[in-house]
């Protein structure tokens, strides 16, 4: 039995330690906000935070996550009110939406480490998250909007 701490809650899971963390999160624990995209760490749809870093859960083994703090899109904020979530909503960023939990988790690391990112900083942080609908320009705009919200200490654009 392996204990996984996901979104500040402990789960006892009876799985192979080599199982991809994504399977444990989705199929065993039942948190399906994190998506399966490519399965080989190429697209970013499966991004979750492992001790605050944006790892690709499709290639991260359960054994690596044991004893660490896992955060999924469901745990990014208490009430879906992270500045990024609000900005995403205000600008209607998603089209089909499939990649956007991964996009948000990656963007959250960017804003934590660089509260005032330039377009280039955003490209450096987000180029590993692929969006087949091509919403990249709205993603960039929403990250700037969220950065302004953080800077102004409020959650309104």
């Amino acid at each position: 039995m392996i204990t996984l701490n996901v979104n500040n809650k402990n789960y006892e899971v009876d799985v192979d330690p080599n199982m991809p963390l994504l399977w444990a999160i989705r199929d065993v624990i039942g948190l399906t906000g994190t998506k399966y995209g490519c399965g080989v760490a190429q697209c970013g749809a499966c991004t979750v935070h492992l001790d605050s870093e944006a790892v690709r859960s499709c290639v991260t083994r359960v054994s690596r996550a044991e004893g660490q703090k896992i955060t999924t899109i469901e745990g990014l904020s208490e009430n879906n009110d992270h500045p990024l979530q609000i900005a995403w909503n205000e600008l209607s960023v998603p089209q089909c939406g499939y990649c956007h939990s991964g996009q948000l988790m990656s963007a959250a690391v960017l804003l934590r480490e660089n509260p005032n990112p330039t377009d280039e900083d955003i490209d450096d942080a987000m180029a590993g998250n692929i969006c087949r609908c091509g919403t990249y320009l709205r993603i960039r705009k929403a990250i700037h909007l969220a950065a302004n919200m953080q800077k102004n200490g409020n959650t309104k654009g």
Partner: protein, 216 residues
């Protein structure tokens, strides 16, 4: 009774002998120090034992080392720019991955976000190692585009080799990340020398003076 000149004569001869011997010793010291300066000239910062020097053997061994360092398994993480390379064709790493200050990537694209402690099974999956990273921004240790001459000088230069002395350089060939270059998984071509032969060539190069092949 002896004349004063007869008494002084042997002393004058002795003084001349002493002067000649001193002059010869000075010449020997000057010649020896000239060799010492040559060995410690800029670019070859590691003090070596002259008795063990064999510049031809050393430089020849480095050419074998160089063939490994130029292989994609080594050079892809020692790029000329700030982006790692990928594949046997040394193409720029997809996803706009950047070196970052510490050589471990930036923001949501840090090396260990995809590269695990071990290789991930399957084709085109990320190879892994617990130490996976590029050289840091303040000591890039570039391999890409370097001639054998320039790269040998760079590696032997304490101020350009990650501040490694002779012992640390010898140890570096045994580093687990270096060794991982021979086990990257997938269809990645290994370096052209077997790992043990690489270590042997590396040791031969350094233990014989760390000489650079001639510049072309």
């Amino acid at each position: 009774m002896k004349q004063p000149s007869e008494i002084k004569s042997p002393n004058i001869l002795s003084v001349k002998k002493v002067l000649v011997i001193s002059l010869m010793l000075c010449c020997i010291v000057i010649i020896a120090s000239a060799f010492k300066q040559k060995i410690n000239s800029p670019g070859i910062a590691i003090a070596v034992n002259i008795a063990n020097d064999d510049s031809a053997t050393s430089a020849q061994a480095f050419l074998q080392v160089y063939s490994v360092l130029m292989s994609p398994r080594c050079m892809n993480c020692h790029p000329a720019g700030n982006r790692p390379l990928q594949g046997d064709d040394n193409h720029i790493h997809t996803m706009n991955v950047q070196r970052g200050k510490d050589g471990k990537g930036l923001y949501a694209l840090k090396c260990s976000n995809c590269h695990q402690a071990e290789n991930t099974a399957g084709l085109h999956t990320p190879p892994g190692n617990p130490k996976w990273q590029l050289p840091p921004a303040d000591m890039k240790m570039v391999f890409q585009g370097k001639s054998a001459h320039d790269l040998a000088l760079q590696i032997m230069d304490y101020n350009r080799n990650g501040h490694k002395n002779k012992e640390q350089l010898l140890e570096h060939a045994r580093d687990t990340l270096v060794k991982a270059g021979w086990n990257m998984g997938g269809d990645r071509t290994p370096p052209p020398l077997a790992y043990d032969d690489f270590v042997k060539a590396w040791d031969t190069w350094i233990n014989n003076g760390g000489y650079a092949p001639p510049a072309k």
